[in-house]
Amino acid sequence: MTGASLWARVEPLLSRIERPARYLNSEWGSVHTQEAEYRAVFLYPDTYEIGQANQALGILYQQANAIDGVAAERAYLPWIDLIALMREEDVPLFSLESCLPVSQFDLFGITVPYELSYTSILEALDLAGIPLRAVNRSEEDPLVVGGGPCVYNPEPFAAFFDAILIGEGEEALGDIIAAHRQAKDESLDRASVLERLSQIPGVYVPSLYHESVNGDGLTSVLTPIGSTPAVVTKRVVASLSAYAAPTCPVVPFMDVVHDRYAVEVLRGCTRGCRFCQAGMVYRPVRERSADEIVGDVLDGLACTGYDEASLTSLSTADHSQIEEILRRLTRRLAGTGISVSLPSLRVDAFSVELARLVSAGKKSGLTFAPEAGTQRLRDVINKNVTEKDLIDTVRFAFEAGWRRLKLYFMIGLPTETDEDIRAIGQVVERVLVAAREVTPPAQRGAIRVGVSVSTFVPKVQTPFQWEPQITLEEVRRRQSVLRESMPRKGVDLHWHDADVSFLEGVMARGGREVADVVETAWRGGARFEAWTEQFRLSTWLAAFESCGVDPTLIANRDRDIEEPLPWDHLSAGVSRRYLQRERERAFSESTTPDCSFSGCTGCDVCGDLDVDIVLTGGERR
């Protein structure tokens, strides 16, 4: 690759913008490779402070840099102020490490972190001077490869990518790079490169699938062209131990979200909440061992200089050795001023015990997610928590000295009635009563319960993938029902924006036709939509209108169980049979246990992908 650093043109702009630390690079832990045969750049489609701590990108950055002859760099979307100056001065999107134009790399990897990031991805491609649509790219353009949480319904953004990795990247990234290098050596043209990539397990090449729309015009499905696999199944690594966790990650200069040393303690969660996409698509559960985790935390802290370590996963308290891990860490870190944090807690006394173990006297706040107000509805969604569990846990926590609590609930879940909604207010009331009872009178004024309420968005590859999302008007009505039933004193009520949930719902299940809408909305000025002040539903409604797409048919329609779906050509390994069975169990209000505690419940992921549950402590408690 040729080309000169853009730094001399970027630096003069930095005195004219906010927070220049976003663009400086040269952080501790950043990797600078002068000579490399193959160059990759990984973009997080938001600002530096939002994307820097992304653990998946941190892993890929380390892995790619470890390959002989390969240099990997990072890129973020500059904030609006710098984008304006870059466009004025004709400076293209640049990588951090070498400050080279992103368009000059061999591989441009983009993570797709949430449904509202699609317009920011277009902003990045455009700023980079890369054609937005894969079909318009030439031999000179980098290979644009996507990955990340949103790939299970990729069609709304698939047209903007040459290839999309479904599933975990540890092994697949190396396969993609190797295939691309080989193809370059053979001087293959772009179309042949894509064909090669489509043969790698887990790699979805959108241009090799043909879209057809059903007679009713309601659904589009994708069928393979030529020898392309009919279904792309996610990649998954059998054991996390085979891959060293990054113990010398980049240490940012500026304040970023999750500014601490994070170690992934386990992957996957099989509690089986029926609304939860992460719980379905990241199966099976694979733990890292206590020795590995303790070693990584100590090494990582030593290499980074952080004063906080976080043990991350979908449900850290479930780790079969969690108590041992925390005891060992608190012993080793005593007197260093370093704290350990647990991002997710179950609703039980054991979790509070764990929180107490690491709190070292500091009791900032606890978070629990009962999700629904009645036992009936919690059974529908398979949230195996009773109100007694919740009240007992609250008592235990407030007795132990906590005074602040945050509770997560959802409205709009399948089968929800007004009674279920009012029950949320009653649960919160009983939580407050329980908290007050066990708190000394003089301290009762300090009790605060935060209640955070989101709107249920049906996601693909879950038992609720066929369900309608409630309409915008209905969201507003149910919110007012909830508001009236909520105790006033001691409660801070937060809503997830209804307009945002609606658009998330459209992106979560839309087909290929939505790509035009995304592009139109971006042309209409949409970008950085995870930033509340940047989000305008009106831009989107205009885009739907002009593209002739009815978003309510995507979000709010009740789908027939036999209906072909726009994501049928992708599999997360969990069988459709299982999803359907879980759906039936939901409507009959029967629960399904967690297979990591009580034996296989037949989701088929282990058999289909030839993997197994990995519990390093033998069994869970």
Partner: protein
């Protein structure tokens, strides 16, 4: 002095692209550097224990520093040269310590002691020359007063007090360099860059870029003698 603690004063540079860091970002980066160096640092007592360190007067975003200071307290005496060696090995490029010495606990804090800042301001622009910049600056300095509006508040500076030494203006590499010394204080310090930009504007001189470097910060002694804090 807390018994068993050793106060080490470290001088470092903030240069290159890291001139764009804010003071808080520099503080965090230095604390993490000390932790990485695995020094036997002391921990503050109290609600949220953290590394015991103290920093010199803040450098604004965009301003580089050639000789900045911080103090860190160690619980075990370690030869200063050895401390310096491990700190350098743990420092990010462009934020590198170059001197470390133990100081007595009776020595005043860096923020209280360092009241003089000497700066170098590089100005780029077409057709700039030292004499016109010198004249522009002098025109403002002789008025004796300078004010800036910051966050809606107007701040006045008595220039005779705030600029205790004559500025030196020289031509260098097609641009102009101004060496300016200012008095710093808890009520806010005069930013050389602001004074110079204002002077250039008043004289209708256009600059394409202005880069500021603090060369060093000094202690003002009894007889007005300036010295380094180590």
């Amino acid at each position: 002095m807390t018994p068993g603690e050793f106060r080490l004063r470290v001088a470092y540079r903030k240069t290159g692209r890291l001139r764009h860091l804010s003071h808080l970002e520099v503080v965090h980066a230095l604390e993490r550097m000390v932790r990485r160096a695995r020094l036997p640092f002391a921990i503050t007592q109290g609600f949220s224990p953290h590394l015991k360190a103290a920093f010199g007067p803040a450098l604004p975003v965009g301003t580089a520093g050639e000789r900045e200071y911080f103090d860190v307290w160690l619980t075990k005496y370690t030869a200063a040269t050895e401390v310096l060696r491990v700190l350098v090995a743990s420092a990010p490029a462009h934020l590198v310590p170059f001197e470390a010495r133990y100081v007595a606990d009776s020595v005043p804090s860096l923020t209280a002691a360092l009241t003089i800042g000497s700066y170098e301001v590089e100005i780029d622009g077409k057709g700039l020359d030292a004499s016109s910049v010198q004249a522009a600056l002098k025109a403002v300095l002789t008025t004796g007063e300078f004010s800036i509006v910051h966050k809606g508040k107007t701040k006045f500076f008595d220039l005779a007090r705030s600029v205790p030494k004559d500025a030196r203006v020289t031509d260098r590499d097609g641009g102009v360099v101004v060496e300016l010394t200012v008095r710093m204080g808890p009520q806010g310090s005069l930013r050389p860059e602001a004074l110079i930009r204002h002077s250039l504007e008043a004289a209708s001189i256009t600059a394409s870029a202005v880069r500021t470097t603090r060369l060093e910060t000094l202690v003002e002694g009894d007889e007005g003698v300036w010295s380094r804090p180590v």
